[in-house]
Each structure stands twice: as structure tokens, then as C-alpha cells.
Symmetry: C2
Subunit: 230 residues, 2 copies
């Protein structure tokens, strides 16, 4: 009976056409509209809030959070946080190296022209990033876009989990002298190589390029006292 309320609420939200940051009706209104008690509605809100799918603040209202790439709110925040507590940086990188090269190979076959265009745009933006945190954000988008382009939503979600866990777990090198990625940063050329392989629709080459990129990143993590971050 409790899951039922959550389902009805999620259906209501998707059918209402509300997007990121939009405000939901007040609890007292929505609960009568859904035909449930206010307490039951609040319980459903609570688990959605724990998953990071909405935010609430007294006096202001209840608002939808990020709509994300797989547009359905997925509710994997708690999974990611829980896994991050029991995962080492090396495990996170190794998991990446198992999954991502094959994802790149699939993407070479499945990526749409629009997705390739978006990847090229991200690659350019990364070169222009004026801070490490901005670069990190774009890099995350780049890799997640490739996973989306692989054309398997489950694989994309799994990649996202691994990548997000890694972002929580992997330390950033704090002793970098630069405030932003230098023009010669190794990942720039490696990202270009991956993108070129995808554009050439060459699966094996994309696999190898992604593997090389991750190898290089792992080496950067392992080797002390130099270079950047991913």
C-alpha cells in the first residue's frame, strides 16, 4: 500500500510535464488530488528526497531536482553513496577499465551524429576550462555521453554508477601547481583519439583509445608528485 502511493506520485509528476526546478503543488493540495492522506504523501516525498529527486524547504515549497540524462528520475544516489563507502580508488578505476572500453566499442556502432557533435563540443570546452573543477565536470559529461551513445540504457546506468562512485572516492591531487589543466594535459589528446575512433565508426580503435586513456589516468594516479587528476 505504501509503494502504491510512490508509484502514483511518480506517475502524476511525469504526466504533469514539470521539469527541473519546477515547483510541485503544496502537500495539502496534492494529497487530496491523489486521494491519499498528507502523511502518506509525505512518506513518499521522504524516500524521493533521500534519493535526491526533489528538495523541500519550509515556506517555499517542494521542487523537482535534476532531470538527468536518462530522463526518468532514477534514484541511485543512495546506491552510489553506499558503494562509495566500501570501494577503494583502485577498485573504482579497475571497474572502469572493465566496462568503459567495451562501452566505447559499442558507441562506435550506435552513436548518432548529434551525439558525436555533442562530444566534439565537450572536447573543445574542456580545452577552454578555466578551473580543474570545471574540467572535471566536462570530463564527466564526456564519458557519460559516450555511455549514453552505446545505446544500452542499463549499461549506461551502470557506467554512471561506477563513474559517480569514482568521483566520490578518488582523491584529487592537491599539489598541482596549475589552477587549470595545462594546454599539454595528456587527456586532451586522448579524448580526441577516442572521439576520432567513434567518428570513424571503428570499434576496435575506440576500445583501444579508451583503454589507453584509462591506463594513462591510472598511471597519473599512481605516480606521485606530478600532473593532474584524470
Amino acid at each position: 500500500m505504501d509503494d502504491q502511493v510512490l508509484i502514483r506520485l511518480q506517475n502524476w509528476v511525469t504526466n504533469s510535464g514539470l521539469g527541473e526546478g519546477d515547483r510541485l503543488p503544496p502537500e495539502r493540495t496534492l494529497c487530496t488530488e491523489l486521494g491519499v492522506s498528507r502523511a502518506d504523501l509525505r512518506k513518499a516525498y521522504l524516500v524521493l528526497e533521500a534519493d535526491g529527486q526533489l528538495t523541500r524547504s519550509v515556506g517555499r515549497g517542494t521542487f523537482l531536482a535534476k532531470p538527468k540524462r536518462p530522463q526518468r528520475g532514477d534514484g541511485m544516489k543512495r546506491t552510489i553513496m553506499s558503494l562509495a563507502e566500501t570501494t577503494s580508488p583502485l577498485e573504482a578505476m579497475n571497474a572502469r577499465m572493465v566496462v568503459e572500453p567495451q562501452i566505447a566499442q559499442l558507441a562506435a556502432m550506435h552513436a548518432t551524429p548529434k551525439q558525436l557533435q555533442e562530444l566534439a563540443r565537450l572536447s573543445d570546452q574542456m580545452r577552454d576550462a578555466t578551473s580543474w573543477s570545471r574540467y572535471e565536470e566536462l570530463d564527466r559529461d564526456f564519458h557519460e555521453m559516450i555511455a549514453e551513445a552505446a545505446g544500452n540504457s542499463l549499461l549506461g546506468a551502470v557506467h554512471k554508477i561506477i563513474n559517480r562512485v569514482r568521483l566520490v572516492v578518488v582523491w584529487r591531487k592537491l599539489d598541482t601547481t596549475d589552477q587549470r589543466p595545462p594546454a599539454t594535459y595528456h587527456s586532451f589528446a586522448e579524448h580526441d583519439a577516442i572521439l576520432a575512433a567513434l567518428q570513424a565508426r571503428n570499434g576496435e580503435q575506440a576500445y583501444a583509445a579508451m583503454q589507453a586513456h584509462l591506463d594513462s589516468t591510472l598511471a597519473m594516479m599512481t605516480a606521485p608528485r606530478t600532473g593532474g587528476f584524470q
Copy 2:
């Protein structure tokens, strides 16, 4: 302030040494012990219950659920259910084929003798299974044990997500004439081949054997009107 209660509760549970099915103290007791209001404790209970980590029933009490293989309660139930709604059977199988052969390869290097022994026991039990549902359960344990033996907890969790999503999504062939797997069921020999490769510590062979097993299963799914399930 709300996550804080959840953390404290989880710490309390892990430090209390309670195991599967054990009963927690009554709400009114535990909330004073943790120094929080009963309402706050119930909110924490609610999200844990939504993740399937505990069950409650009025008059009886609150009980811990399955302790699971990665003993830390992981809270990925909602992730699995959400992904299952947007994943097709073919996607689920393809995701498996990306991840599981490499997991088998890693397991060949990392599995402990005790894990290999457990795998052998599961393989025997599968041959003796007297119903499809019992076989299905043992098969799931067999594959998850291999993932655990790969020695990467994040990879293990990812495999578990894929496998659980697949179990929700993939239909079972209902027109099977047999009530239980026949003695000649293809998976028996394939499981043995995987196990043999693991015991021989032969990574490439384990990779190939797992790939062959999944290929055969996929073929079984695709080919109409015959055979069983996995």
C-alpha cells in the same frame, strides 16, 4: 540533520552485532537511546524499509532483512526496480555479456579455494534442483559468487545490479514441458566449464567459457518454442 540520524542508526546497527532476521529494539526505546525524536527515527526507518533493508510489523517489532553477500546493507533495491522499468530483456543480456566474461577472467586470478569449493557445491545443487525456480535461485548465487570472487566490490555490486535487473525483466519460457531442468540442460556443462577454468586459474579460458554460456543462454531466449530459461 536528517541524513545524520540515518548514519547514526546504521552505525548503531552495525555495532550492535545484530544479524539477519534479528529484532531491533522498539522505536520508543531506540529513539531515546540515540537521542532523537521518535518521528525522526521513523523517518530513517522509512527509507531503510524502502530499500528493503528491514521489515516492520505492528505488535511484533522491527527486523533486519537479508545481510547479503557484501555484508554492508547496500540499499540498491530502488535502483534495481527503477532500472528494470526502462530496460529491455535484450539490453539486460547485452549488459551481462559486456561485464561477466571479464569478471570471470578476474575471478580466475582472485578466487579463494573456499570460493571455488562453494561454486562446486552450487553446481552440484543445480543438477539436483527439483524445480525451475529453485534452479534459478542457485544459478543466481553461482554467478554472484563468481562476481564476488573477482575481488572488486564495486564490480561485484555492478554485476549484482545487472543480474537482478535481468531477473525482473527477462521472461521465463512458460511453455516448457519439464517441471525441472532436464539432466541434459545446456547450462550444466557450461557452468562446469566455467568452474574448471577458474580452478585451473586460466583467465582466458574462464572468459571464453562465460562468453559461451551467455551466448548459449541468449540463443535459448531468442529461439522460439524450445528449451528453458537460462
